[in-house]
């Protein structure tokens, strides 16, 4: 009998204990629930799964959830990176306050965020009222969902990019300038390549968060089937029917699409790392 070594030996003490705790915790909170979901789906059978997923309403909800999560993450990619840049590079009054405020979407219960956003952007709200004057409805449309997803996803990009910006010496930019590069050229060829891997991680986290977001979205979405009904709400609807199989089927579909999306983002990340050759 050869004893297989699962985790390579290390000179550091406590390997068994720390690995054991880690694996137990990971199993209890991540692997077991996901395993249970897959098990539920497997028992339901592929044709049963397909019957639930292959309905116009489910496709509409999945398309809506992933499309808006992607758009919101793309928005956060640009503005979250910009925000991180401003927070690291500029000194201004209230910077610490703004820096702390970035984490609020993490801390605030999402239902509170949803209600606050709805109050503000409903047709009789402060900003929603202004938008209504030019005929732009925000709350209870896809714009509302987009807004909620931008809100919950923003810190992911800012917080992953911030430490990388802190690491970049201004000397690098100065060197680029003394070598005759224009400012745009410096940003494109020097700064952005260094930020890209971290920014992509933030993008992926922001998108993953947006896809599964429920609490804040249901308040602002309007929840009209085929128009503003998100996929997580369909899962809740199936659960209300005690229809665990169908709920599991939609959950599995979301899991599969998320997995493929995250894998694609990881591949882009690997590719971008190889291209710039370090980090």
């Amino acid at each position: 009998m050869t004893r297989r070594i699962w985790i390579a030996r290390s000179p550091m003490p406590g390997r068994g204990l720390s690995a054991g705790i880690t694996l137990s915790m990971l199993s209890a909170v991540v692997l077991l629930p996901i395993g249970a979901l897959i098990w539920q789906g497997a028992q339901f059978g592929p044709s049963g799964l397909w019957d639930v997923i292959n309905r116009p309403r489910v496709w509409a909800a999945l398309w809506l959830s992933f499309r808006l999560a992607f758009l919101a993450a793309a928005f956060n990619l640009v503005f979250g990176t910009l925000l991180a840049w401003v927070l690291v590079r500029y000194r201004f009054a209230g910077r610490r306050l703004v820096d702390a405020a970035v984490d609020l979407p993490f801390a605030l219960p999402t239902a509170v965020a949803g209600i606050a956003l709805t109050t503000l952007y409903a047709p009789n709200g402060r900003l929603g009222g202004l938008a209504a004057q030019i005929g732009w409805k925000i709350a209870y449309t896809q714009w509302g969902i987009f807004l909620a997803l931008v809100f919950v996803g923003l810190p992911f990009v800012t917080r992953t990019v911030q430490p990388v910006i802190e690491e970049i010496d201004t000397e690098v930019e100065e060197a680029s300038a003394t070598l005759g590069a224009s400012r745009i050229h410096t940003i494109r060829r020097v700064i952005l390549p260094m930020l890209t891997p971290a920014a992509l991680t933030g993008f992926a986290l922001s998108m993953a968060r947006g896809v599964g977001e429920y609490g804040s979205v249901i308040f602002i979405a309007g929840n009209i089937p085929l128009k503003t009904e998100i996929a997580p709400l369909l899962i809740v609807i199936q659960l209300e029917e005690y229809n665990y199989d169908a709920a599991g089927a939609i959950g599995l579909a979301m899991l599969a699409i998320s997995f493929v999306t995250l894998l694609a983002i990881n591949l882009v990340q690997i590719w971008s790392r190889r291209r710039i050759g370090h980090v």
């Binding site: 209890a28 116009p56 409903a122 249901i218 309007g222 929840n223 005690y242």
Partner: protein
């Protein structure tokens, strides 16, 4: 490998409420918050007055379906007081109480009833008087989603009953009705907020008690109640969950609690909280006079929950067909 189960057990022990014989958990639905706060206080008093040890009563509120699911999945409720008999039926199917639970207490185990009415903006600008007005062009109707809200199923069935009584095709009528719904909230309180605070919609379909509460809290100068010609008799039932009863003392407490709901004192409280209760002998006459006589259709008239639930609200049922898509 033995560590993990121990951890899990510890975690569960930390989360599960410690229940003694003199404790009682009542798992209820959303709009009963105010009612049970008062009932619990009065019952605890009368229970101690009868020479028993003081009872610790707790009530949990949430969407009726979600609450039923929590009980099925192990929430240690000795008493359930939900919005729909079909939710308690599901708990019975899970083996936690006998299938004939509804026959154990008077009035189909419903100590109080309610119905569905319209809440419209002050002065009734759209001139809404009955169900037929709700499908007109330009009228926006606010109701929660019947798939996620017990209350909304009553809304839907009331509309259905009106269409049947008026020789309209009920299927086409509910289709047209939901085509006028701009926001489908997941619960009754959410719909009330959308209508009252956000100013969306011309009419809110609501529990009669919610409509009165909203009018009282937000001012009768802003909203008024319209009673349609036909509505449903909503019977939110109560039951003891036998499987969660630890011993005889707790059974006695749970039984007494449910029977207390039928006493003139508790019935008076139900009237005061805008429910249509049965016994008005101790109720404030003003609370009773508030309710206009209405033509109320019962669930049995419509065919009973066992038939209605899958036919209308089941997966692919009539409600789903409204939104079946192209």
């Amino acid at each position: 490998m033995t560590i993990r189960p121990t951890f899990l057990t510890l975690a569960l022990l930390a989360v599960a409420p410690q229940v003694h014989a003199q404790d009682l958990l009542n798992v209820s639905y959303d709009p009963t918050r105010e009612l049970y706060r008062e009932v619990n206080e009065a019952f605890a008093q009368s229970w101690s007055d009868q020479g028993h040890d003081a009872a610790r009563l707790e009530t949990s509120h949430g969407g009726s379906g979600a609450q039923a699911r929590a009980v099925i999945e192990g929430l240690d409720a000795q008493v359930v007081t939900l919005a729909l008999a079909s939710d308690i039926d599901k708990i019975a199917e899970a083996g936690k109480l006998p299938a004939d639970w509804q026959a154990r207490l008077p009035h189909n185990s419903s100590p109080y009833t309610s119905t569905i009415v319209f809440l419209v903006r002050a002065g009734n600008p759209k001139g809404i008087t009955d169900w037929g007005d709700l499908t007109k062009d330009g009228v926006e109707v606010i109701t929660p989603n019947p798939k996620t809200s017990g209350g909304a199923r009553w809304n839907y069935l009331a509309a259905w009953a009106w269409a049947e009584a008026n020789d309209r095709d009920p299927k086409a009528f509910v289709h047209d009705l939901f085509a006028n719904v701009p926001v489908l909230d997941t619960g009754a309180r959410g719909a009330t907020t959308t209508f009252a605070q956000r100013g969306i919609g011309d009419v809110l379909l609501a529990w009669e008690n919610e409509a009165w509460l909203a009018q009282q809290e937000l001012g009768s100068d802003q909203f008024q109640i319209v009673t349609p010609s036909v509505s449903v008799l909503a019977e939110p039932p109560v039951a003891m969950v036998d499987a969660n009863i630890k011993d005889d003392a707790q059974r006695e407490l749970a039984t007494a609690y449910l029977e207390y709901l039928y006493t003139p004192q508790a019935q008076a409280m139900a009237f005061a909280h805008y429910y249509r209760a049965w016994d008005d002998s101790q109720a404030d006459p003003e609370d009773v006079a508030r309710f206009p006589k209405m033509n109320l259709v019962t669930i049995e008239d419509l065919g009973g929950w066992a038939k209605l639930q899958p036919e209308h609200f089941g997966d692919g049922g009539i409600f789903d067909q409204i939104y079946a898509g192209p």
